[in-house]
Every structure is written in C-alpha cells, then in structure tokens.
C-alpha cells in the first residue's frame, strides 16, 4: 500500500485544485438557473434554433427551462471537458513522470515487481477519479437544494456514474500512453481529452460519420444522452471499456520489459 499512499500524497494538490475549480464552476452555473428560468421560453427557442450548434451540444433534445435539462447542457459541458482534461492529465503522467523527474531509479530498485508498482499507481488513479466525481456529485446535489429546484436523484447518479466511467477510460488510455513516454505527458493527456470531446461534437453534427461515436466516451457519458435516452448506450460503453482494458493490459505488458535509462 506504500506506493498507493505515496501517489495519493503526490497528487493531492492537483486533485483538490481541479476538483474545487470544477465544483465552483458547476455551483456558480446552477446558481444562475433561477434567473434564466424566467426567460425560459425565449432561451429554449433561441438555443434550439442555432442549427448545427444546437445539435452539437444537444440543445435541441432537452428542455433548458427544466433544472435537470439546464444542468445537463451547462454543467454537463463543464464537468465533461473539465473531467476529461483532469483525468487525461493524471493518467498520462502517472508512469512517465518517474523517468521525467528521474525518480525511477529510486522507485524501481526496491524489491517489488514493476507490475505491483503499476497496479498500485492505477489504484491511486482510480481513487483520485472517484473523489473528483464524488465531490462534484455532492456539490451538484447541494446546488439543486440551494436553488430549491427539483431533480431526479436516480438520473443524476446515472449521469455521474457515466461521467466517472468516461474519466476512468480517458485516464486509463493516458496510463497506457504513459508507459511508453519518458516526458511528463501533459500535452498528450490534455490532447486525449480534447480529441475525444471534439469527436463527440463532430459525431453530433454529421450524419455520415456515426462510427465516430464508437470511438469517444462522450457518446455514452454525455449527460443529455443519459437523461433523454431510456437506457444507457451499451454499445458505446462496451467499446469504451474495451479500449480501457486494452490500454491497461498494454501498459503492464510493455513496462515489464522497458529499459529504465
């Protein structure tokens, strides 16, 4: 457990900065809802008439005048992109930072297999992601109470669960890339998050490239999708978990034999 505790300690600053920043943004956004509700009809009409833009962000599918609808569009974007970037960054630096910061010689000459060390790093990664989404869930629930608006708890839990799986998938892919890198991986981590996000926007707009939806975790985790569809998008979720599994398996396999220079 020493490696797990070490990683939790090392990442706590970054974890809390990101968690609190996103939580503040989500809360601030929700606090705007009561005012926006007054102009609900006009807002809805405007938002759903923006053509491709409406389609890209799912504004044509959901009622922004409802608290859950508003949450899905506004806070969903904040949480979606914020979570993707945080998880991408965290995952892609998890292994590579040891070589980047020259601490690998210290860490990997202890009497533990590389698999053991990587496993506990991944556990720490998971724990950070659970904390990130857990706190944001709590803040979101709190925000509904503050603005005295109704919300569907079951649906909200489902939204956060899917978002968390998105985060885990992105972090896992970053983890796989991190096994190969010797640099900090920050650029790649952020890149992964953005690429997946823009893939989802692209897939929303076009009708010809629906296969792209199988590539990005936003297909199953987008709050608008979760709230408007009757069931979860199993096909996209399955592919997402498959990518996660492959990335993790690759990282363990590759790092076992990697030369640490």
């Amino acid at each position: 457990m020493e490696v797990f505790l070490l990683e939790m300690k090392k990442n706590q600053k970054s974890l809390w900065i990101w968690t609190i920043s996103i939580a503040i943004m989500v809360l601030s956004c929700m606090l705007l809802f009561p005012e926006l509700k007054e102009q609900a009809k006009q807002v809805n009409a405007m938002y759903s008439s923006l053509g491709s833009l409406s389609q890209a962000f799912g504004m044509n599918k959901i009622n922004m005048a409802s608290s859950m609808g508003f949450f899905a569009i506004e806070c969903g974007s904040i949480l979606g992109i914020g979570g993707a970037l945080f998880c991408g960054l965290l995952g892609s630096g998890m292994i590579s930072k040891e070589e980047h910061m020259h601490t690998a010689e210290f860490l990997f000459t202890h009497p533990r297999t590389r698999g053991y060390i990587l496993f506990h790093k991944f556990l720490a990664l998971l724990s950070c992601i659970i904390l990130f989404y857990g706190v944001n869930f709590a803040i979101s629930v709190l925000s509904f109470f503050i603005i005295s608006e109704d919300f569907n708890l079951k649906k909200l839990i489902l939204v956060f669960l899917m978002q968390m799986l998105l985060g885990i998938e992105i972090a896992g892919i970053g983890f796989g890339v991190s096994a190969v890198l010797k640099t900090s991986g920050a650029g790649i981590g952020i890149g992964i998050g953005f690429v997946f996000y823009f893939m989802s926007i692209y897939a929303n707009i076009t009708n010809n490239s629906k296969w792209v939806k199988y590539l990005t975790p936003f297909s199953y985790a987008d709050p608008v999708t979760v709230l408007t569809k009757k069931t979860i998008e199993e096909g996209y979720l399955f592919m997402g978990m498959l990518y996660l599994f492959c990335a993790l398996a690759f990282s363990f396999w590759y790092y076992k034999k990697k030369d640490i220079l």
Binding site: E2, V3, L6, K9, K10, K13, M101, H102, T103, A104, E105, F106, F108, T109, H110, P111, R112, T113, K257, D259, I260, L261
Partner: protein
C-alpha cells in the same frame, strides 16, 4: 563459492549506439570493488543492468549466485543502491522518503535510520525541494544503508559531498565491510579507489579492459618515462604502448606500458642525453587507460 556479483559476457546496445559489449567481472564477498571508466564508457549501463533497470541483449548477470532475470525481487531485497542522480519526490519531507523506502522493504529501519542521520548530519524534517545536492546525496546514502543490505551498489557516491561527510561515509562503508558486506562502487576519484578499494575494474568504450586487485594495479608495468636531448618525439614510439605525451623545453615525458627492451632498442638510435624510468603512480596508471589512443 562466495561470489556476490558475477557478470558473464554482458552486452547491451541502444540501437546503433554502443552500450556495453561482453562485460565480465567478478565481485567476491567482502570486496570493496571500484568500477572506473571515462564518461560514456558504460559504467551506468553495467550498474543498471545489475539492478534490473535495463535488460541486457546477451550475457548472464548473477547476484548472490541467483540470476537477475529470474529472481529480481529476491536479489533487490539484499541490495542497497545509490544512484548517481539523487532525485526524490518534491512536496515530501526527508523522513517521508526514508520511511517509504523502509516500508517498501518491509523492514523496521528506525534504529539504523536514526544512527545514519546523526552521523551524516541529515535533518529529516526538511522538505526535499529545499535540499542541496549534497544533502540529497545523504538521503540517498541513508536509503541505501538503513536496511543493512549484504551488497552495496553505489554509483559515484561521493560527488557533491563535503570532505568531512565523505570521510564519514567511507568509515560507514568500512564498518559494513567488517561485518561481512560487499561494496561495489563506481568512481572517478582515483585516490578514493586507491585508498579504499580492494579490487578495481576499468571499463572503456563498453569493454572491461582491466580487472585486478589494487595491489597488482599499483604494481603495474606502467612506467613514467622522461627523455632529454630530443626536439621531436620519436616516430617509432607512436603506438599503443605510449600515452600522455608531454614535451617541455628539452624534456619529453610519457607513460609506457610495453616491453622495456623494445623501448631501449628504439631509443638507441637517438642522441638522448638522459633517460629516467619511474613507477607510475595510481593516477597515471588509470589515466593511461582513460585516455583515447594516439593515432
């Protein structure tokens, strides 16, 4: 069979770049073994292969008579390693790093840790990022020694340490050797190797060119030659046996490790006025190996 380290024909290349080729060496229990060579010779590659950080392309690495490839975790339990770069995690205190290292070994190292920190004058409450290189090296020393390993592998251990701490460090090593530990250290400091090591190996361009006891190395056949009366260096002497040529005023000096009768035979044809042959000191012996060959 009291071999602690046995490297048999170990090779490693990085693509087209040469790493090490056919390195063989033997370290026995109780040795203080010096490993020397110029920058880029392959010292770090050899050491990292011994610790399982690098997988060699060929050859066998046995430590405590166990193969590194198969029993890495068991072997690492009994090794104390000090990397040349003493880098640790920022945002943590010295005591956190030391305790982490102890926990990773599943050992209670408190007593040894206290002792070592006192002798090396290391403040455990300080944060890693506030430490100088010398103090980070001290952290590295404590990490390597607190679990009382059977084998110490130290990569340039004294670089960055002040002379008092250097002495304390070697005193500690000698104490460990007295109670049965074996020490393998790489160093550029010739006096260190001369004063403390029992054996040494010299690596150059990826190959071990000499491995012997310090006693034999000091008694080596390298001679410091001074000739007077010549204006130019004799062309016939420009071969592998001559190193470190210096020409001052009327005197030509060089290191020579060939047959003395061959040297005299060549010099007979020249109008030399004086000839002095002295035993080379340890620095000159090693420099003889360090220098690139004359063309």
């Amino acid at each position: 069979m009291n071999e602690m380290i046995l490297l048999s024909d170990v090779s490693k290349s990085y693509g087209k770049a040469r790493g090490i080729c056919g390195v063989s060496l033997k370290v026995e229990k109780g040795d203080i073994y010096g490993f020397m060579g110029p920058n880029g010779a392959g010292k770090s590659t050899t050491i990292k292969s011994m610790l399982g950080l690098i997988t060699p392309d060929a050859g066998k690495i046995e430590i405590f008579q166990k193969e590194m490839r198969k029993e890495k975790v068991e072997i690492l339990k009994r090794i104390g390693y000090m990397p040349s770069e003493a880098m640790f995690y920022t945002g943590m205190k010295v005591v956190d790093i030391l305790n982490f290292s102890a926990k990773m070994r599943g050992k209670d190292c408190k007593k040894q840790q206290d002792l070592l920190c006192e002798r090396l004058d290391l403040d455990r409450k300080k944060k890693i990022e506030t430490l100088s290189l010398g103090n980070r090296k001290k952290v590295s020393i404590v990490c390597a020694m607190q679990h009382e390993p059977d084998l110490y592998v130290l990569d340039e251990p004294t670089s960055g340490l002040d002379p008092l701490i250097q002495k304390e460090f070697f005193d500690l090593l000698l104490e460990k050797q007295q109670i049965g530990a074996t020490i393998f250290l790489s160093s550029h400091i010739l006096t260190e190797v001369k004063n403390y090591c029992t054996k040494a190996a010299i690596i150059k361009e990826g190959c071990v060119i000499r491995e012997d006891s310090i006693e034999h190395l000091l008694k080596s056949s390298v001679r410091n030659i001074s000739i007077c009366g010549l204006e130019e260096f004799p062309k016939e002497l420009l071969d592998n046996h001559v190193k470190n040529i210096s020409i001052e005023k009327n005197q030509i000096k060089f290191l020579y490790d060939g047959q003395m009768k061959d040297l005299i035979h060549i010099l007979e044809a020249y109008p030399i006025t004086d000839f002095i042959a002295e035993e080379a000191n340890i620095e000159e012996v090693f420099l003889h190996y360090y220098e690139k060959e004359e063309n």
